[in-house]
């Protein structure tokens, strides 16, 4: 468990953490991916992916409910034995470090492209990492409060920003429905499913939740909110740019707001403000993953002091983030990485845990939440 006694969160805070974590860098390219995958059936694709995310989410919620207060290490160790459990936890930490690095790199590239053209990538990355260190050192309760504050603000502003786009909506772009060949559709689901990356934190942070009984509600709420958010962004983008054009834009969600004019407003290009909100959400994703990386690492090496491990991770994440030559390499790598590691940690391990938990009924965790 955490090193200080501020490690109890509520299920509502849990939902806020999950939501701000899942919505991160993925949102920018999501409309393109969805349209590439299924054309006009994009929304069905999204719903299918969200169904898959909901399924694994509920599996994880079930495990958390069955073993309240058990940390990731304790869970994997009781289910798979000590060495394998330690290995899985260590691997999770490694996975999260790479995840953080990719997040930082994409953040740096996008910020450089849209906000600060002349600022070196290194400065952008390090400054964001320093902030993430600050939050990750503050512990889960502060992260929970942060998520609670940011989530409603970001939501309200995002809704307000969408309003100017509404009059230009064209429903004809999402019709006709069900025209995509079935196999293409099925093949596209995993790609979109990985837009729900971050849902694996249910297992990791489930041990902090006070009212464990409500965890499945948090999962439902999270997946519902995120899906609604993804759907509205995709719809807006597609109806604005059309199907073909959407697939040709790297970050369609940002370009969308580049075209928005608020009638009578004093600021012309609100894409900078969208960027601002996006920085909030990227930052939260990064900080939560960063905290997770240090937490799993401290669990795996049996260290009580999670916050001492935060700072040493910074140079590692930074250097990993600087390895790729360009953004294309990052996305290419992330696709593969998400596919293998993501599948392992989001799907295989939770399901395995679920199956094992049926056999371990007698040795249920005695530790109370």
């Amino acid at each position: 468990m955490g090193s200080r006694n501020n490690d109890v969160i509520l299920s509502s805070q849990f939902a806020a953490i999950l939501s701000v974590t899942i919505i991160g860098v993925g949102i920018l390219s999501l409309p393109r991916l969805v349209v590439e995958g299924a054309g006009p059936d994009n929304w069905i694709l999204l719903l299918a992916a969200s169904g898959a995310a909901l399924f694994v989410g509920l599996v994880m919620a079930f495990v958390v409910k069955k073993f309240p207060g058990k940390t990731y290490l304790e869970l994997t160790q009781t289910m798979f034995g000590k060495p394998i459990g330690t290995l899985i936890t260590l691997g999770f930490s490694f996975y999260l470090v790479i995840f953080c690095a990719a997040e930082v790199r994409i953040f740096g590239e996008v910020t450089k492209q849209y906000l600060l053209f002349n600022t070196p990538l290194e400065v952008l990355s390090v400054t964001l990492l320093v902030l993430a260190v600050y939050l990750a050192r503050s512990g889960i309760e502060t992260i929970a409060r942060m998520a609670e504050v940011i989530f409603p603000i970001a939501t309200v502003i995002a809704i307000l920003m969408v309003l100017p786009v509404l009059p230009e909506l064209d429903v004809s772009y999402i019709l006709p429905i069900i025209r995509t060949p079935f196999m293409d559709f099925v093949k596209a689901v995993p790609t979109i499913f990985f837009s729900y990356l971050g849902i694996e934190f249910i297992l990791l942070y489930g041990s902090f939740v006070k009212d464990t009984k409500k965890v499945h509600k948090s999962v439902l709420l999270t997946v519902g909110l995120v899906t609604w958010f993804y759907l509205s962004v995709t719809w807006l983008t597609v109806s604005r740019f059309g199907l073909i054009e959407t697939t040709h834009i790297t970050w369609p969600a940002l370009e969308l707001f580049k075209t928005v004019d608020i009638p009578g407003a004093f600021l012309e290009n609100i894409e900078a403000f969208i960027m601002a909100i996006w920085i909030f959400s990227v930052f939260m994703t990064l900080a939560v993953a960063y905290f997770g990386a240090s937490l799993t690492l401290s669990q795996a090496i049996k260290s009580k002091e999670q916050n001492y491990l935060v700072l040493p991770l910074l140079p590692i994440i930074y250097f990993v983030a600087m390895i790729p030559d360009n953004i294309a390499q990052v996305t290419e790598f992330m696709d593969l990485y998400a596919f293998y590691m993501g599948t392992l940690y989001i799907t295989i391990i939770p399901v395995a845990l679920l199956i094992m938990s049926f056999f371990k009924k007698d040795k249920r965790g005695k530790k109370s939440a």
Binding site: L115, T119, L128, L131, A272
Partner: protein
């Protein structure tokens, strides 16, 4: 309460007790020795009785004790009246204390002590000590009374509507001002002394069945832990018991208004009154309590809500406006509409400095003006405002050092900053504004966001006496109920409960059926009984 016994024990222990003995002269000499060279201490020796055979000594500190009371009710009684009235009891010496207490000293509060150290403390806090020959005790006569400022309207926290009595420098007056507003036996005023040398009186105020016991315990423990030579102002207490000294944000509210204190007590907070200062501390404080003004509750809800939202907007503006100016003019001019961008560029064309230097010069000048304005006496202070604001600003623009837009931004920032009801919150924002300006110059809009995130993390970390500083936006205890008193001030008839995030006892404030009764009676052409 065992806690307080322990506290007083702790304060007295280091000083060994000096017992009062039967030898009158010895006692007096002891006191004189301890208070040597204290020329404001008056020793009055006199003889009492028909035969003038009883020696008395009166010791008090001049200026702290009420001389009139001593002359008219003590000296006159003992010296004049006792001589004319024949003693009824033949052997007076055995019952001299009872006789004096019951018959001769006409004051309200009398105490008997047997320790010279206590006697010294009493003298120094304004009481008078009466020593008697052949008696191994002394009488403490409550004669505290010194010149004090009246109950004036406070200089800060002015309201249009609302009471205008303010605290003054005397603890007793201040507790009375609060007591007048809470005639509840559950309202407690617990007194203690802090400061090894200053022995400053401190009163902890709370309403027993409303206050959150955990918070109260925390306040008491932290004050108890203070071991300092002197407490000069409530700011000392604030800094010694606050949760995080690293924070620029005030973690306690301070006020000069008794109605603010009473309202806070009714919400379940704790107040600490410190002697010698009109500023009373209220804890725990959250960001929201620092934006609320007492007038919000006296005005009608719609107006109060609108004003409160204005204040929220002002607070945010005062923090980010100069930074936004810097960020947009130096990094993102494309954000502005073309006409405006041209105008901004045109007005800045002759300015020889980068936007950050320009903004920094103006903000620094403004801070200087503010500081000068506070130090100078009233009429000159406003002159400084005119000279600084109008003349300097105008001249700076004409000289081409700053752009007119910058002057507007700075002026707006200053006005927005002044609208905060809490001075301590406003000054912490002033500090953060400069940090944000530096980051805006360094990283543009991302720098502004960076600082906002950093501040948010800090605020999320911060707790005031165990209550999250951002309550009720965050935290387990907050409920939607609490939002009736955040951005808006809901009509009183809907604010039925105390703030939930404080875990206050007796959480219901307003009877649940009040609304129906009011509505029914309201129907009868507004005639209400």
């Amino acid at each position: 309460m065992g806690f307080f016994d322990k506290l007083f024990e702790k304060n007295e222990n280091p000083i060994p007790k000096i017992p009062i003995v039967k030898d009158f002269q010895n006692n007096l000499d002891q006191i004189k020795e301890i208070l040597k060279d204290g020329d404001d201490i008056i020793y009055r020796e006199f003889m009492v009785g028909q035969e003038q055979d009883m020696k008395f000594g009166l010791v008090y500190a001049e200026g702290l004790a009420d001389k009139n009371l001593l002359n008219e009710h003590i000296l006159q009684n003992l010296m004049v009246l006792c001589r004319t009235a024949p003693m009824e009891v033949p052997d007076l010496r055995d019952k001299i204390y009872e006789t004096i207490k019951n018959g001769s000293v006409a004051v309200t509060d009398l105490k008997e002590i047997d320790d010279i150290q206590v006697a010294i403390d009493m003298i120094l806090s304004g009481e008078s000590i009466l020593l008697l020959n052949h008696w191994d005790k002394a009488l403490v006569i409550a004669t505290k009374g010194w010149p004090m400022r009246g109950v004036n309207a406070p200089d800060t926290e002015k309201v249009i509507r609302g009471p205008s009595d303010g605290f003054n420098e005397t603890l007793r007056v201040n507790t009375a001002l609060v007591r007048r507003r809470i005639r509840d036996p559950k309202f407690k005023i617990k007194q203690m002394q802090v400061g090894q040398r200053s022995k400053t009186d401190i009163a902890i105020l709370y309403i027993e069945d409303i206050v959150n016991k955990d918070i109260l315990k925390m306040v008491k423990e932290r004050i108890d832990a203070i071991d300092i030579d002197a407490i000069m102002e409530s700011g000392y207490i604030e800094q010694l018991i606050q949760d995080s000294w690293r924070s620029p944000f005030p973690q306690m509210q301070h006020t000069q208004r008794p109605d603010t204190v009473a309202a806070a007590l009714y919400e379940g907070r704790v107040a600490v009154i410190v002697d010698n200062t009109p500023f009373v501390l209220i804890m725990p404080a959250t960001v929201v309590t620092l934006i609320q003004s007492p007038e919000d509750y006296y005005e009608r809800p719609f107006i109060a809500s609108a004003i409160r939202m204005l204040r929220f907007a002002a607070l945010i503006l005062s923090l980010i406006m100069p930074s936004l100016y810097i960020a947009i003019t130096s990094y993102h001019p494309g954000m502005l509409p073309t006409d405006l961008a041209m105008y901004v560029a045109g007005s800045r064309a002759n300015v020889p400095f980068p936007a950050f230097i320009e903004a920094f010069i103006m903000e620094a000048a403004l801070e200087l003006l503010r500081e000068a304005g506070i130090r100078l006496p009233g009429p000159i202070g406003s002159t400084i405002g005119i000279v600084g604001g109008l003349v300097l600003g105008q001249a700076a623009v004409e000289a081409g050092i700053v752009s007119p837009l910058m002057v507007i931004v700075v002026a707006l920032t200053a006005i927005a900053g002044y609208s905060s009801p809490s001075y301590s919150l406003a000054i912490s924002y002033r500090l953060l504004r400069f940090v944000m300006m530096a980051f805006a110059a360094f990283l543009g809009l991302y720098g502004v966001i960076w600082v906002i995130i950093a501040i948010l993390i800090h605020l999320c970390n911060l707790k005031s006496f165990g209550v999250p500083y951002l309550s009720p936006f965050v935290g387990s205890a907050a409920t939607p109920q609490d939002f009736k008193d955040v951005f808006i001030r809901a009509p009183l008839r809907y604010m039925k409960n105390r703030p939930q995030y404080l875990h206050a006892g007796d959480s219901q404030r307003l009877a649940y059926d009040t609304q129906e009764i009011l509505t029914e009676e309201g129907d009868g052409n507004g005639k209400q009984k």
